[in-house]
Symmetry: C2
Subunit: 354 residues, 2 copies
């Protein structure tokens, strides 16, 4: 009883990393510093890579950044994406410096002849483009309400993609970030419906760490559960490592990343023969015993017989407690009934078996 059916997209490859519905959702992040600080940028990128990040983006704010960007690209352990605003010459310079993808903002770099020049540079080197629209930088239509602002964002982004296609660039990834979860869901769904571009999910201007994490979880989780989203960058006013950890947590919660065992447990209630403290302790014991094990394993620790056996049976293994006793489950069947005090030990032993 799980599994998300991904929306079908074309595949766009960024520095050897394929992005699209035929491939796992790609985790990415963005540096908080300029590429001029090459050693700092490389150190940050190495930490991000170790945490599971697969692509790194960096702002290219001016021409002074282009030289160092070349060195950063050559030495970076991850493919580098250039974040470009306003100035098309920076995009062309970044492509020449060796970036693996260019992010353009249709809200501030839209002059047709300039986009044609950027497209030519990208086409020549086979560099994909992210068309990164953003509710904060869209050209506002006067006197419009919220609904039409959202529509304007989608229209603007898709028209921009059309222009790139006209200029021979079909390797396009799209984002349409808004700063609230409800609008974000609406605009992404609309782009998903109207195109087959892989989608870069994000929410803009989320806020401080905790609130930002919650807004991002809700906003991006909603889309991912619908099969929408091929690469994710969470934005937090916090360490980029936090962004990567949160992204992976969201993907796990959506069933899109299964890189470690999952422990499910009940909240406990007045029916439980074991209390909250005791059940929590057993859950932690099971979790600790499974640390370092690969994904593909789901273990239940349930406090009573109402949902316990059902949940435990849906898992690879589990225990459900009754009056002084516990049922041990494996592969959907009760394999033993034993005294409650022996349950976790027996479960851990069972999980050691091949």
């Amino acid at each position: 009883m799980r599994g998300v059916e991904r929306r079908k997209t074309r595949t766009v490859t960024v520095g050897g990393v394929p992005i699209g519905s035929g491939h796992p959702v790609v985790v990415q992040s963005m540096l908080k510093r300029r590429p001029d600080d090459v050693e700092g940028a490389l150190a940050d990128t190495a930490r991000l890579a170790e945490e599971g990040c697969r692509l790194v983006r960096v702002a290219v704010p001016d021409e002074a950044a282009l030289g160092p960007l070349g060195e950063f690209c050559r030495r970076s352990p991850l493919p580098v994406i250039a974040d470009i605003h306003y100035d098309h010459r920076l995009a062309i310079g970044a492509v020449e410096a060796g970036v693996a993808k260019v992010r353009l903002n249709p809200g501030n770099l839209r002059e047709r002849e300039r986009v044609r020049e950027v497209a030519a540079a990208c086409r020549e080197r086979g560099i994909p483009v992210r068309v990164g629209g953003n509710s904060g930088s869209i050209k506002r239509r006067d006197g419009t309400d919220d609904r039409s602002t959202a529509e304007a964002l989608v229209d603007e982004v898709l028209a921009y993609c059309g222009m790139l296609e006209e200029f021979g660039v079909g390797d396009i990834i799209v984002s349409v970030k808004a700063s609230d979860a409800a609008t974000n869901a609406v605009v992404y769904r609309e782009v998903a419906r109207r195109s087959d571009y892989p989608l870069h999910l994000g929410l803009t201007a989320t806020g401080p760490r905790d609130e930002g994490a919650m807004k991002s979880s809700v906003a991006l989780g909603a889309l991912l559960l619908e099969g929408i989203g091929d690469t994710v960058r969470v934005s937090l006013t916090a360490d980029p490592l936090d962004e990567v950890r949160l992204t992976k947590d969201i993907l796990r919660a959506c069933g899109l990343l299964d890189d470690r065992p999952e422990v499910v447990s009940c909240p406990t209630c007045g029916r439980c023969e074991v209390g909250l403290a005791e059940l929590s302790r057993m859950v932690e014991e099971v979790r600790a015993a499974l640390a370092g094990r690969p994904g593909g394993l789901r273990v239940a620790v349930m406090g009573c017989v109402v949902n316990g056996p059902g949940e435990a049976a849906e898992c690879d293994a589990g225990v459900a407690f009754g009056k002084g006793k516990a049922a041990l489950f494996k592969g959907g069947r009760v394999v033993r009934v034993l005294p409650a005090s022996e349950a976790v030990g027996a479960l851990l032993q069972l999980l050691q078996e091949p």
Copy 2:
């Protein structure tokens, strides 16, 4: 650019608290102890009420619980919901003890004549019923795959509602909890499509605190953003207060609860004229200054000019930093450009104005 359009439902009133699309989403929780421990249950309920919880559920595991349940109902600061499994006599006893709603599980209390007796007791006292289906306690059909298990859960729950309606009970709230976000979304959407019952959202057997919180945020957020869900109970293997706090955080992230000012901020990047540490400090300063203020206020603290002015303009007030300077926004317009070091002070002053 925000706002969720709720799915239209009938309204069901639980102990004076109306539940349905015409009313704010209701936060509820469940005690971890038996009602026999009346003083403990009352103390827990008082803490939950203070945290913003509006309904409290308690397990009624056996007849011994019924006497104390009566006292608990009389003294509880919140309407009490009885959680019933297996034994219809406990449901009838709970209604007589004075509960404001009865939760029945179609997976383990489905004998027609018994349900008729419960319905008669509820009808007589005007007590609504939650039909609480659960993937862990559904009657499994042999040899079925995941998809048909989900369908079976929805069919079972709606058939049960039909039976209650036949017995004269129309005050029905429905839940169909699964233990993974993807399945949960599918089953709730299906019930939403096929009925006008107010929905009680939850995810079952979520797991330990952090993973459980993430799974719940994703699973419930996805539905809430679609306008599905009229009351929420998050289940965590943790303190019930954590459940209530998380529920309120999810509702805020979905734009369904606006009980305090919202601060939006950017993640910072190489374009920023202010660093992450500095921006974080300013965000905290603004947050602290707004503590205790009511909702309906959205304030932006943005590090650069790319999305900054756009986001700041979408907010009631905000600042966006440029080279050594900052633009101060109010009601969508720049009201001042001032030295960066004076920006937060000016913003806070502006927020003091009526």
